[in-house]
């Protein structure tokens, strides 16, 4: 009643010897297969290192290459020797040279003794496997793979493509249902001998020797023929990254590995001194005797895979610079852009900050400088207010600002006098909330003291720019939440649109707005627009303003804030 280890060793022989010795002195027989690529001198010293242990044997060597039959041949041979030489072995545990036992051997023995007929082998049908990398799942079984993936990648890929196009199919031997799973298993003597002594073994071997990565399918498939007592999981803790490469464990994973309660882990970095010293010591008191629970450390590794494949949305940095449309979010969080509001309301910035509790900036893309909230000269992330620096890369300015202030919503003003280079970026960004009062830029002109011919020229320029900007906002590619009102429409009932915008921002107080921003007086604005028209310019973005503003004549500037019940 015991467990024996079949061990496949390729590199870092010293560490493999340490682990083999650990098992052997704890009365578990070990049969080691050493890759034939290991040169003779190293092999000799390796065997000499373990020469004093009667229950360590070495088997016939094959030259191993990842993804090929040689690995199955090696495990077969090692298992055969193990079963023949050590009749007391009940479970055969397949391990590699970079495996490390995490729990005392006695616990493993007890665990297996309590489950004498159970085969621990991950074995899943190809349809149900989510983790095959590169799209080869059922194709592993029905294509041929004469070319080496490592050395002749092009030929390998080309031949796979060719077979796909030709609709090529090999016949799977009768009675076999292809199953896949981790190549590190622990099988009972009964099942393993049934596989190895099957009269049809030659047939199966011939078939599997042409299958891609047969070490993940040979035993996994054949076990299904001979045993119904299968626990479809591996006792070896092994994590894979997005390319199907095993994650490596280092000294700083010590606590994580302890908490996993798994029996064996791979792959261990050969220089992980603390792990080898810690887990190969005989001190078993730290362990809880719990059921293996690799899920505890899954999180860490699945996060790593996600970081590598999806990354952090809205982050642009030295090792993440997505092509257009692959950003997975142009910016990292939601923000609001207000156009025409400061022109219409005297105290809009302060008011907005007060009711929404967000960070409100002025015209960040203003021609003079970036108007940060409170007109600071430097802002989060040490961004400065230089317009030159901002205009050198306007998009980076925006994405940096939003990234630097994660957790705090940003609002800023925008208008036709500002740098327009970000128009497309914000329009395509689902994180942007853009509210526009079109034509509001005319209000400061109305109040300005400039010559009317200059005003007229400026009005024409701003109108042209804003028209283009609104066209962008209304394009089919726009993903931002865009609202556009004409000035005339907006002032009819300013509270309703404001309420909508504020609600969407999700300010803390969900109740109705009780305080409105102070609107500038528009007395005579209609006449001003008429004057522009008389000068041959057609101001249309403001909507319909009656020349005679008689219904608004009674209002005075500055107006009192009014309450809405």
């Amino acid at each position: 009643m015991s467990v024996g280890f079949a061990m496949l060793v390729h590199t870092s022989l010293d560490r493999a010897a340490e682990v083999a010795r650990h098992w052997a002195v704890n009365k578990c027989p070990v049969v080691i297969h050493v890759d034939k690529k290991v040169d003779r001198r190293a092999y000799k010293s390796f065997t000499a290192q373990l020469g004093d242990l009667p229950n360590v044997k070495f088997c016939k060597r094959f030259s191993c290459e990842w993804g090929t039959w040689s690995l199955v041949a090696a495990s077969q041979t090692a298992s055969e020797v193990l079963l023949a030489e050590f009749p007391e072995v009940r479970h055969v545990y397949l391990a590699s040279g970079s495996c490390l036992p995490l729990r005392p051997i006695d616990e493993l023995k007890e665990y297996l003794a309590a489950r004498p007929m159970t085969n621990f082998i991950e074995s899943v049908t190809t349809e149900d496997v989510p983790w095959t990398v590169g799209g080869l799942d059922i194709e592993r079984f029905i294509f041929r793979f004469p070319f080496s993936w490592k050395r002749h990648r092009r030929a390998f890929d080309g031949y796979v493509r060719f077979q796909r196009r030709m609709n090529f199919k090999r016949k799977v031997p009768e009675g076999l249902v292809p199953h896949l799973g981790s190549q590190w298993w622990c099988l009972t003597r009964q099942t393993l001998t049934a596989i190895l002594e099957d009269p049809d073994r030659q047939k199966y071997d011939r078939y599997f020797s042409k299958v891609w990565i047969p070490d993940e399918s040979y035993f996994q498939t054949l076990t299904r023929l001979y045993s119904t007592n299968i626990e479809s999981r591996s006792l070896t803790l092994s994590k894979f990254d997005f390319q199907g490469k095993p994650h490596i464990f280092y000294d700083d994973h010590m606590q994580l590995l302890r908490r996993s309660d798994c029996f064996v882990a791979r792959k261990i970095w050969p220089h992980a001194e603390k792990l080898y010293n810690g887990f190969l010591s005989d001190d078993g008191s730290i362990f809880t005797g719990a059921e293996p629970n690799p899920g505890k450390i899954d999180r860490v590794f699945s996060k790593a895979v996600e970081r590598r494949t999806k990354g952090r949305p809205g982050l642009y940095m030295q090792s993440r610079f997505p092509n257009e449309n692959w950003e997975n979010g142009l910016t990292s969080s939601q923000y609001s852009i207000f156009e025409g509001f400061t022109e219409l309301f005297e105290d809009f910035e302060e008011w907005l900050g007060r009711v929404t509790q967000t960070r409100v900036h002025g015209h960040l893309y203003g021609p003079e400088r970036a108007e940060y909230s409170g007109r600071q000269k430097v802002f989060a992330g040490a961004m400065v207010d230089s317009a030159d620096l901002r205009d050198y890369n306007p998009r980076a300015f925006l994405t940096n600002l939003i990234w630097n202030t994660r957790g705090e919503r940003q609002c800023f003003m925008f208008g036709p006098a500002d740098n327009q280079d970000i128009s497309w970026d914000v329009a395509k960004d689902p994180n942007a909330q853009i509210s526009v009062i079109s034509g509001a830029w005319a209000v400061p002109l109305f109040y300005s003291n400039a010559n009317f011919s200059d005003i007229r020229r400026e009005a024409a320029r701003l109108q042209r720019i804003e028209t283009q900007h609104i066209e962008v906002l209304r394009s089919v590619w726009t993903k931002a939440r865009v609202r556009v009102w004409t000035l005339a429409d907006f002032i009819e009932n300013p509270m309703e649109p404001l309420q909508t915008i504020i609600d969407e921002i999700g300010a803390r107080q969900a109740n109705r707005l009780t305080e409105a921003p102070r609107m500038v007086s528009l007395d005579g604005f209609g006449q001003f627009l008429q004057n522009l028209k008389n000068q041959g310019m057609q101001p249309y973005l403001m909507g319909d303003f009656p020349v005679d503003n008689s219904d608004r004549q009674s209002r005075h500037k500055p107006r009192k804030p009014y309450l809405v019940k």
Partner: protein, 326 residues
């Protein structure tokens, strides 16, 4: 064929160098090497060597350029240093790149090589618990040939001259601040690398002329092959595939940072001297901009500066990434 040109250039420039101590025969097959040019850096070297020795570097190859402060003598006595010296112009050797390209071609083939300046200190994911060997083993296992590390300018709080640096001291005890989020990135279509600018130098010295701000992208760690060549400092190299240290499909590749200990009290005299020699990049524009401001002994620190804690902080801020290394 650009690569051929740089390589021929390196070949021609090899005669400008004279070997002082050559211990390269002690380099073992898997050793990690550092390549470095130095000029009057005696004060920085003790900490530099200690830092990289602790990290797991096995051998240093230095080119010393016309020093007069004992740099040469100090380096020559170090057991793990091979030293060349040159009196020729730094600028004519394309800021030392030609010299290093030649030495790397001869001695670096098949090794992981870190090419840094004496004021650049590599920080990479898990560097507090794993050595450089763990990183290079992982890169090897992942079939990655080059590793990017952005230059992160570090500066003190208060005027640079107020806290003097002494030999052997950790420079980041003084220059412990950095800019967290004002970097701008563009793609260099010719070589395929990213071009990163920003940081304190852009905001202090080049706010009106950002295009002149120095490049911060660096690829210092490369599994070197004879046929490789650095093009412009360690900003980019050939063949172009090595410059692809960033992901273009939304993911993050693993990357590190080169903490740049340039802004210490040693900076002002150095800048003045360099301006005098006119041996720096782009007609020493950079140094001219420094000199103008340095007269007033500026403070690079601002209230949004971030104080350096460790690599995890840099990773959270998004300046570097663990990628899929866990």
């Amino acid at each position: 064929m650009l690569r051929k040109r740089w390589r021929i250039r390196a070949f021609r420039k090899r005669r400008e160098m004279k070997s002082v101590v050559n211990r390269t025969e002690t380099i073992k097959p898997n050793d990690i090497l550092v390549f470095c040019t130095a000029r009057n850096e005696r004060i920085r070297l003790p900490y530099f060597l200690r830092y990289y020795r602790n990290m797991g570097v096995n051998h240093f190859v230095f080119v010393e350029n016309d020093s007069d402060d004992g740099t040469r003598e100090y380096l020559a006595e170090q057991e793990d240093v091979s030293l060349w010296t040159s009196k020729a112009g730094y600028k004519r050797a394309r800021f030392g790149v030609d010299w290093l390209n030649w030495l790397m071609r001869r001695y670096a083939h098949g090794h992981w090589c870190l090419t840094v300046d004496p004021d650049e200190f590599l920080v990479f994911p898990f560097c507090d618990t794993r050595g450089l060997r763990a990183l290079t083993d992982w890169l090897d296992a992942s079939s990655i040939k080059s590793f990017g590390a952005m230059l992160l300018d570090m500066y003190p709080k208060g005027p640079m001259s107020s806290q003097p640096y002494s030999a052997g001291q950790d420079p980041f005890e003084i220059a412990s601040w950095f800019d967290a989020g004002n970097y701008m990135i563009e793609k260099n279509t010719k070589f395929g690398n990213l071009w990163i600018q920003g940081g304190p130098r852009a905001r202090m010295f080049f706010p009106d002329n950002p295009a002149r701000a120095p490049a911060l992208n660096k690829i210092p760690l490369v599994k070197w092959q004879r046929s490789y060549t650095y093009v412009s400092s360690t900003h980019n190299l050939l063949p172009r595939g090595l410059n692809l240290v960033y992901d273009e499909w939304g993911g993050e590749k693993a990357s590190g940072c080169l903490l740049h200990a340039k802004f210490l009290d040693t900076f002002a005299p150095k800048a003045a001297e360099e301006l005098e020699r006119r041996q720096h990049y782009a007609a020493s524009h950079e140094y001219r901009a420094y000199a103008e401001k340095l007269d007033s002994d500026p403070d690079l620190w601002c209230k949004w500066s971030e104080k350096y804690i460790n690599w995890r902080q840099l990773e959270i801020l998004g300046l570097m990434s663990k990628g899929n290394w866990a």
